[in-house]
Symmetry: C2
């Protein structure tokens, strides 16, 4: 794995300025190219001129926040923390990857959306604690650095950061010849957010009588893809270009599978500002029960009524093709809900109005009752 | 790439406490295991009882800092920023990997040291800006999660964090069956540090007359391994168990190549406290000239005199076996210097005494002169 490029100060207005610096010379007097230090140098912008790189440049710039500092230090990205906004600032940090959804992207040769999935996985874990995502750094490992492709992946990451309101502060691209195939890559990212200590969302806030609000997923999001690939593409022998019906829209299976993960960060932050949010549960690996249970205190249960929504057709397809039992489906997939908010009963209507006003498909899916820290999934999904 | 485990609040005293929580139940009434949320759960401690896991547990605990908060949020690691120590705190963040040094570890089946390399690559980029490393999150991608091996890798990362004084706050282990072979893995990490704005180290501080202090590397560190592997193990057909001589010590080539990267973070922080440090240059990919040039203003040159030190024998071995020209060696390898500090002339002796007192092999390697932002490597290495 050759170290290809280290990118820092990415969101800075000074990005790329380092490229104009003097080259260093060795004792022999021969000048050698200065090592690239910024996001868009080595391995990417050296092959400048192509549109993918220009796209990436403008997209990274769009993630810039005023707190991002110029390329001062050089070895790391720098971000000014606005201490006036916090009495006791708590930093929240999370690392995640995208999983085998990447294989779908590689099969379709579409690389500019998995970055959105990556950012979603990371920042919505931050906001689940009540933290505002501040910045993100990415790591791309690939068998062979193809500048266009790396730029496309990076553009998707920048898109995701923009949707989440966080700066793309830096990253690393590593070449793994002989380990990954030239057309293979893996991506991961780490996000950092901040939350006032007294406003950390935790299970301690949850009370009997609270309302469970569901926010619709855009599709499978980024979990369960090993099972999906096995069921649909392996045993099921389906092709990615087969046309399927999704709520009346004609689209290919590939398009459906690659649908970017919905990023809820900005919606959740708005919700915190507008309503009494007890906790969020980000529905990722483990599904609805596996994630909702993480935010319950031991004296309550969460009752979630399946009849309040209809999972997207893709979930039916996976279940029927794979003959998967309902509990396994629910322990693996989001079943159409990407994020839950537990809010006070009196703020439920306002919370729903806030989300709906932002274009989020949200509804009351259940409530908090006396219990023993369990999630009760009741009823049956509507089939209409 | 199956999502295997998400680890947050790793350094917390409450790590693993979540495992005692109630299981959730589905509508069918069948209880299902609660999804693991902490560092030592799923994929690692589920296979509890083995010593590797116990080792990891105790090692992660050793990285705990008082600012690490318990498993409150669950979805992210939480770290209290001590705002009393800073007027204008600037967060510094860096992501890096280890490169093909990992292949050596995999060939030797030794997995508990590459984590030290990983932490070194990340935290010494933070301290290069003057930032104190606060916490780190890791990402491990592997073809097959073998709990012992993941625990060994994690133990090395925890060791590195302890040497650097930063908390191992969380991480992610991802399984990539079919992409990576079962015995292959890649690791990366992101570190976050903090520095007072007025104390950010940057090229603006460097003045003519400043002294360049070199700190000895422990060996090759973590750069140039693709070339090393090609030259020694590929074309050179050397075996990792061949015994070589390194300053009188008998050791195998494998031991030499796998020598963990020296972590300078605590030494550098001490140096900042004791002497007028202008900048640090962390010598990684690009070698001495490629990294030192990054911290020079345009009106000075750095003159580094090779005669002030002797590179370790491993560098001679690589150069002679590969018939590599000196400039390429110097643009690829650290040549025995892992970190430079540029300090004021009047503080040079104190700086050297501080480093020597901490057991760091440090010496005056050069000086800052009028120039044009170049690095001048002069003289020849001692051969004695």
């Amino acid at each position: 794995m050759t170290h290809v490029s280290e990118r820092s100060g990415a969101g800075s207005s000074q990005t790329g300025a380092g490229g104009d610096r003097q080259p260093w010379t060795t004792g022999t007097g021969s000048p050698v190219r200065r090592r690239a230090a910024s996001y868009l140098d080595a391995g990417v912008s050296i092959e400048a001129g192509d549109r993918a790189v220009e796209l990436l440049k403008s997209k990274v710039k769009q993630t810039r926040r005023p707190e991002v500092m110029g390329d001062l230090g050089g070895f790391a990205g720098l971000f000014r923390l606005d201490t006036k906004k916090y009495r006791n600032p708590i930093l929240a940090s999370s690392t995640d990857g995208v999983g085998t959804k990447l294989v779908i992207a590689q099969q379709l040769d579409i690389h500019d959306t998995v970055g959105i999935d990556l950012v979603a996985m990371v920042v919505d874990d931050l906001v689940a604690c009540g933290a505002e995502p501040l910045f993100l750094l990415d790591y791309i490992a690939t068998g062979e650095v193809v500048p266009d492709k790396v730029a496309e992946i990076g553009a998707g990451i920048a898109d995701g950061c923009r949707y989440a309101g966080c700066a793309l502060l830096g990253g690393e691209t590593a070449e793994h010849p002989g380990v990954l195939r030239p057309d293979e890559y893996d991506i991961s990212a780490t996000g950092v957010g901040v939350v006032e200590e007294s406003e950390i969302l935790s299970s301690e806030r949850v009370e009997v009588g609270d309302v469970v609000i569901a926010m619709r997923a855009s599709g499978l999001h980024s979990n369960g893809f090993s099972l999906v690939r096995h069921v649909l593409l392996g045993a099921g022998r389906m092709r990615l270009d087969v046309v399927i019906e999704d709520f009346g829209r004609q689209r290919t299976l590939g398009e459906e599978l690659l649908t970017p993960t919905k990023i809820y960060a900005q919606d959740c932050l708005k919700l915190i500002a507008e309503a009494e949010v007890r906790v969020f549960a980000h529905v990722t690996g483990g599904g609805i029960p596996g994630n909702l249970v993480r935010v319950l205190p031991e004296h309550v249960d969460a009752v979630v009524n399946r009849s309040t929504w209809k999972p997207q057709p893709i979930f039916d397809l996976v279940q029927s093709k794979g003959r998967i039992e309902a509990p396994e489906m629910e322990a693996t997939f989001n079943m159409g809900v990407g994020m839950f908010a537990v809010v006070s009963a009196e703020d439920a209507d306002r919370a729903l109005a806030t989300l709906t006003g932002r274009g989020v498909d949200a509804w009351q899916a259940g409530e908090i009752v006396e219990g023993t820290g369990n999630v009760q999934l009741v009823g049956q999904h509507t089939r209409g």
